[in-house]
């Protein structure tokens, strides 16, 4: 009996770590892969946080917006436009999308409970998904990586008697993500609109009373989330194909948000990286014990366990309720 327990503890708690340190170059590769997928999770989560901060809407449609933006870009290019023109037009499309959402959906639902707003964005998801499939077809498309001037290929790094492979597009994704977060930070703290956004996030009524237009701010926020979605779509599409399967993967950003807190941009980044890396480590070193495929649920279960101990997330504001 004792032997079985020790054996079991060994496979669960010792053997994976022995595996890790016996092949350090492989471990580095796993960590890098986890980091890159973490960056992408973080980017999706960033779109959620932007909208949640400014309007309290939990935007379920962020995942499908990523797919939609990428599809618009690819399809415009397939119609014969140069890549950069297509990119500019896609930004325009996301702007119109933001205006329409604000005018048709959000403005009518002011002051409704959170759950109603969440369900409205689920309805929005269906509309965007149906429209996307109707106009662009359901089959996967490849991203126009080279036309956009993004690097392809890979470099090797020799370390620990082995090699670690870095795809150039992954490095570019990380750099662009960092640039985007930095520019969002500047935008929020230095510009007039950014300050108005923060004011709205703090208190809707107070913001209204000092003359900030809520409707305008919401449209801007959805536009910003649309641009984040476009960047995410390009990066994701460059790693795999642009397809509607991404919509399900994008739900993982919800787990990221629980880890990072719903209202914190640094939280989204840290949470995304945490989920990406721990998920890859778990899949590679512990997955075989459970029979593989644990990537599908690990992020959610991690979030669930985390919720029990720290419901406000790593950086979120503590919610205090009074009767």
């Amino acid at each position: 009996m004792l032997a079985i327990v020790i054996e079991w503890l060994n496979t669960l708690f010792v053997a994976p770590f022995v595996d890790m340190f016996s092949l350090p170059d492989f471990l580095l590769q796993v960590l890098w892969e986890g980091f890159v997928s973490g960056v992408l999770y973080a980017l999706i989560a960033l779109g959620f946080v932007l909208i949640f901060k400014a309007s309290g809407v939990f935007n379920f449609a962020q995942g499908i917006m990523v797919v939609f933006a990428a599809l618009v870009l690819v399809s415009l290019h397939a119609m014969g436009m140069p890549a950069w023109v297509a990119l500019a037009l896609t930004v325009g499309v996301m702007g119109i999308f933001a205006l329409v959402v604000e005018r048709v959906v959000l403005r009518k639902l002011v002051n409704q409970p959170d759950a109603i707003l969440l369900m409205a964005t689920i309805g929005l998801t269906l509309v965007v998904k149906g429209a996307g499939q109707l106009f662009f077809g359901g089959e996967p498309k490849s991203m126009i990586t080279e036309e956009l001037g993004l690097p392809t290929g890979s470099s090797d790094w020799e370390v620990f008697d082995g090699i670690v492979i870095f795809q150039h597009i992954d490095i570019a994704a990380a750099v662009i993500a960092i640039l985007m977060v930095a520019s969002l930070g500047v935008f929020f703290s230095k510009t007039r609109i950014g300050r108005a956004l923060r004011a709205v996030a703090d208190d809707h009524q107070a913001a209204l009373s000092v003359g900030i237009s809520l409707n305008q701010i919401w449209a801007i926020v959805w536009f910003a989330a649309g641009i984040v979605a476009l960047v995410t779509g390009i990066m994701w599409g460059a790693r795999s194909d642009v397809s509607f399967a991404l919509e399900i993967i994008a739900l993982k950003a919800l787990a990221v948000l629980i880890l990072g807190g719903f209202t914190s941009i640094p939280g989204a980044i840290v949470g995304g990286l945490l989920v990406g890396i721990s998920e890859k480590l778990f899949e590679v070193y512990w997955g075989p014990i459970f029979g593989g495929g644990v990537e599908a649920w690990f992020a959610y279960v991690l979030a669930l366990v985390f919720l029990l101990f720290r419901p406000q997330g790593l950086f979120g504001e503590r919610i205090i309720e009074r009767v």
Partner: protein
């Protein structure tokens, strides 16, 4: 004029507390039951029974399950599909171990397994609520889906990974399996759904149901008034998951005939959530209306182009129905957040005062 309760006096407490206090409602319900139990099986074609009525009833039952949790107890859940799966797989295992026990007993017992799993995944609801809870139910959805794929024991180590429904009989009458007629399957489902709806209606207006609604309306106030959140929330999860589990077992055994894990994926969870939203949160009649609407609408959309003589791909109609359903959800949330059930109620109010719309009742 027809729908007016003037002159119907309640002379005892029992009649005051009746489920349907108005005579016209009782007659209406009786009519519906007669149509459902007698006229539909006699005149319905096997396509109508097998592809419209049976799925409609299954989804209505699942929607009741979700509505208990979301509409009455206020706990948003995105894991309905997985809870239905638990019921289906439990029923499959039960009937492979105990093939002699009646399949209907198995269906009812398999709901208990779903209830148990539901309680386990409902535990976080004691500390968190709203959107956070929705995400923990997503964890249930994906984790259970993974279990259905990876734990080969659940589908008896089939090569296909699907659960095939065996033939089960009462006497000589085939209830499940390929030889069962749509009429038999329809009647079994209809009886179960009718009984379970009645039970739900009584539980909801009883002590437990009212404690759920108190938790939904304001949890802190409910706690101050002596409702134990632990008991109320977990019992809501158990009840809701029981209904979903039974619906899942019925779906596989009496409708699909065989199922893989795709039958319980997150799209089904969403579909049932939409049925609850469009039908009306916190209304049992709404569950039936929402299920009927969302199940029949895509079928209608599929048929409209061929009637009009337009050539349209099957995929295209599916996309169009996606758009329409999504738009309808937004429309309903904006215009009438309480769904069809509320429209039905308004209609009844209008009928009571007709033809004097300004008469105060």
């Amino acid at each position: 004029m027809i729908y007016r309760e003037a002159g119907q006096y309640k002379t005892s407490y029992a009649s005051d507390q009746a489920l349907l206090p108005i005579r016209q409602d009782r007659i209406g319900l009786l009519l519906i039951l007669v149509i459902a139990f007698v006229i539909v099986p006699i005149f319905g074609s096997s396509f109508f029974l097998g592809s419209i009525m049976i799925p409609f009833l299954v989804f209505a039952l699942a929607a009741i399950g979700l509505n208990i949790l979301t509409g009455y107890a206020g706990q948003l859940s995105l894991g309905t599909g997985a809870f239905m799966g638990v019921g289906a797989y439990a029923c499959y295992k039960l009937t492979s171990y105990l093939p002699d026990v009646n399949i209907i007993v198995h269906v009812l017992v398999s709901g208990l397994f779903a209830a148990l799993i539901g309680v386990i995944f409902g535990l976080p609801s004691l500390r968190i609520k709203g959107l956070y809870l929705a995400i923990t139910t997503l964890a249930a959805q994906f984790f259970l889906e993974w279990c259905f794929i990876r734990i080969a024991w659940l589908y008896n180590h089939n090569d296909s990974g699907a659960i095939e429904v065996p033939r089960r009989y009462i006497g000589d009458l085939a209830l499940t399996g390929p030889t069962a007629t749509p009429v038999t399957r329809y009647l079994v489902i209809l009886s179960l759904v009718a009984i379970m709806t009645l039970v739900a209606a009584n539980v909801l207006r009883g002590r437990i149901g009212r404690s759920w609604m108190m938790i939904r309306d304001m949890d802190i106030a409910a706690e101050l008034m002596g409702i134990r959140p632990l008991r109320a929330k977990l019992s809501a999860f158990a009840f809701s998951s029981y209904y979903c589990g039974v619906a899942g077992a019925l779906m596989v055994f009496f409708w699909l005939g065989s199922a893989e894990v795709e039958a319980f994926d997150i799209n089904h969870s969403f579909l049932i959530l939409f049925m609850v939203i469009i039908g009306g949160m916190g209304s049992l009649a709404g569950c039936f209306m929402g299920a009927a609407f969302l199940w029949i609408l895509p079928i209608v959309i599929r048929f409209v182009p061929s009637v009009l003589g337009i050539d349209m791909l099957a995929a295209t109609t599916e996309h169009i129905s996606n758009i329409i359903i999504g738009a309808l959800i937004i429309f309903f949330l904006i215009v009438e957040p309480h769904g069809f059930a509320r429209l039905w109620q308004i209609g009844k109010e209008k009928l009571r005062t007709w033809p004097f719309p300004y008469a105060s009742s």
